[in-house]
């Protein structure tokens, strides 16, 4: 897990070029400077902090890129409405470091190098919205639990920060699922409820990604204008990108938003072989053909203009030697299993889509099978309580489009991939261990 070219968040030593590990609070303060005591003093201060966040233009790095200040104002407004109605329930803050996307490692890298920066951001966010309780959610079994636990123990914060570990399911990291798990232990998405109005135990709940909070910790120190001066003005600042696949040095990289994709790949040592398309945004994201993506600035709007998705900052270059149909089928199969199973179209639709894709990845597929697949893809979207099925459909549909020549070859009983596919092969899309999927053996039917 290489970490390079720290710009702001990741503490990269100028002399050695190595990322430092600032798990000690003293070392953290020495590196980033002391945190102003927002919220500790007068009432005016949280409002002033909120203005700085507004000025910064910070947008959420968990995937949605929603303006952070606007989300905070919605939480504050919801809490004010409640208190005028009597009960007066204080808002709650949840830092989302679940990192449900298997190809994403940015939050774990951030927390292992600068845990206190995320915790500082939690203190700032809690102050801005008036939360008295704050939780940081790491998925069960996460490698950074011990680091975060130790970091919390070193601190004396005005808000009590607790570590929670929901199950490591893909949909458990969805905002409403997370807020409800923290309240009632049910890590499933909820229909028609927005956490900022009705989250943990029914309280207004601010859910922010760990990276977003780390940026917030720096905005609290240096001000909104400082933050806004770097990167794409439409989505300012720097951002972490998990780069993987066919690049020389896969890992997490911090770049200003708006950095062209080919520059990001160059910083990771460049492509190591032929690549037809790249996956953007992870398994709820989208495939984009290489020639359409390389010159595009890495920022939500330009990437979306070519059909991509930044999401939680994932960029995966799939080697042309690996069969894309195998990859798409494997991921769709895994994602079908990650459904919470609450909504019929997701519970039944995704496995059906995955079955059709398995046929396509094999060598006995007919045009009837692909027609059925396309019909089913159209049937699954916009019908779930959360966006899980819609994300899978986007992943699959854009893949079929980006790899259209490969689809055509499979329909003729051939495969353009030169490598023999094995489950653990380098450069294949990662799937959490223990969830092996059927793979194609060379010269044999799909099993």
């Amino acid at each position: 897990m290489a970490t390079r070219v720290g710009v702001r968040l990741i503490p990269v030593d100028r002399e050695t070029g190595q990322a430092r590990v600032l798990s000690d609070l003293g070392a953290h303060v020495a590196w980033y400077g002391p945190m102003p005591r927002w919220g500790k003093a007068r009432d005016a201060k949280p409002a002033a902090l909120l203005e700085e966040i507004e000025r910064s233009g910070l947008r959420g790095r968990g995937g949605g890129w929603f303006p952070t200040a606007r989300k905070m104002r919605a939480v504050i407004a919801s809490a004010a409405e409640r208190s005028s109605m009597s009960s007066g329930r204080k808002p709650v803050l949840i830092a989302n470091a679940m990192e449900g996307e298997p190809a994403s490692t940015k939050d774990a890298v951030l927390l292992s190098h600068a845990p206190h920066l995320v915790l500082d951001g939690m203190v700032a966010a809690a102050a801005a919205v008036g939360a008295k309780e704050a939780y940081i959610a790491l998925h069960r079994g996460s490698a950074v639990i011990a680091v975060v636990d130790a970091a919390i123990a070193q601190r004396k914060d005005p808000v009590k920060i607790r570590l929670i570990t929901p199950p490591a399911r893909y949909v458990a990291s969805e905002e409403s699922a997370l807020a409800h798990w923290a309240g009632n232990g049910l890590a499933v998405p909820v229909f028609d409820e927005r956490p900022f109005e009705h989250g943990m135990n029914g309280r207004p709940t601010l859910v922010q990604n760990a990276e977003t909070l780390a940026h917030l910790a720096l905005i609290a120190r240096h001000g909104g204008q400082w933050f806004a001066d770097r990167g794409d003005p439409q989505a300012p600042g720097t951002t972490l990108v998990s780069v993987g696949g066919s690049v020389a040095y896969p890992g997490v990289i911090e770049v200003p938003t708006g950095t062209p994709v080919d520059e990001i790949l160059r910083l990771c040592g460049g492509l190591t072989g032929p690549v037809d398309a790249l996956l953007t945004g992870g398994y709820g994201g989208a495939w984009v053909r290489r020639d359409e993506l390389l010159a595009v600035p890495w920022s939500p709007e330009p990437v979306s203009a070519v059909g991509g998705v930044i999401g939680a900052g994932i960029l995966w270059a799939l080697s042309s030697q690996i069969c894309p149909m195998d990859e798409i089928a494997s991921v769709a199969h895994w994602m079908a299993g990650e459904s919470a199973g609450q909504c019929g179209p997701c519970r039944f639709g995704l496995p059906s889509v995955a079955d059709d894709l398995a046929l396509l990845a094999g060598d006995r597929v007919t045009s009837e099978d692909t027609a059925r697949l396309k019909r089913r893809l159209g049937l699954v979207i916009n019908r779930g309580a959360c966006k899980h099925p819609d994300g899978v459909v986007r992943f699959v549909s854009t893949g079929l489009h980006a790899f259209a020549p490969e689809v055509a070859m499979h329909l003729n009983g051939r495969c353009g991939a030169t490598a023999i596919t094995s489950p653990r092969q380098q450069g294949r899309l990662p799937l959490p261990a223990g969830r092996e999927i059927p793979v194609k053996a060379p010269g044999k039917d799909f099993q």
């Binding site: 909820v190 609450q342 909504c343 019929g344 059906s352 049937l379 916009n382």
Partner: protein, 75 residues
């Protein structure tokens, strides 16, 4: 204004729906069933605008759902 006025919104909670299919019987103008027996709205989503002439049928659909997955709202 062209077309009938949309006076209500019919909302389907997909986490409650258990594919009984009553809604497609009572309100075929709005719902048809997919290959797994779950209702698909003409609107393509979970919220369907209901014109005035279908409001009473929509109310029947709400009452006929055994798991109360449908609800009718003012838009």
């Amino acid at each position: 204004m062209t077309g009938p006025e949309k006076v209500r919104q019919l909302v389907l909670d997909p986490t409650l729906c258990a594919a009984h299919g009553m809604c497609a019987d009572v309100l075929p103008e709005v719902y048809e069933l997919d290959e797994w027996g779950y209702p698909v709205s003409v609107s393509g989503g979970l919220r369907t605008p209901i014109p005035a002439e279908l409001v009473s049928a929509a109310k029947r659909a709400v009452r006929s759902c055994p798991v109360r997955a449908l609800s009718l709202h003012k838009p």
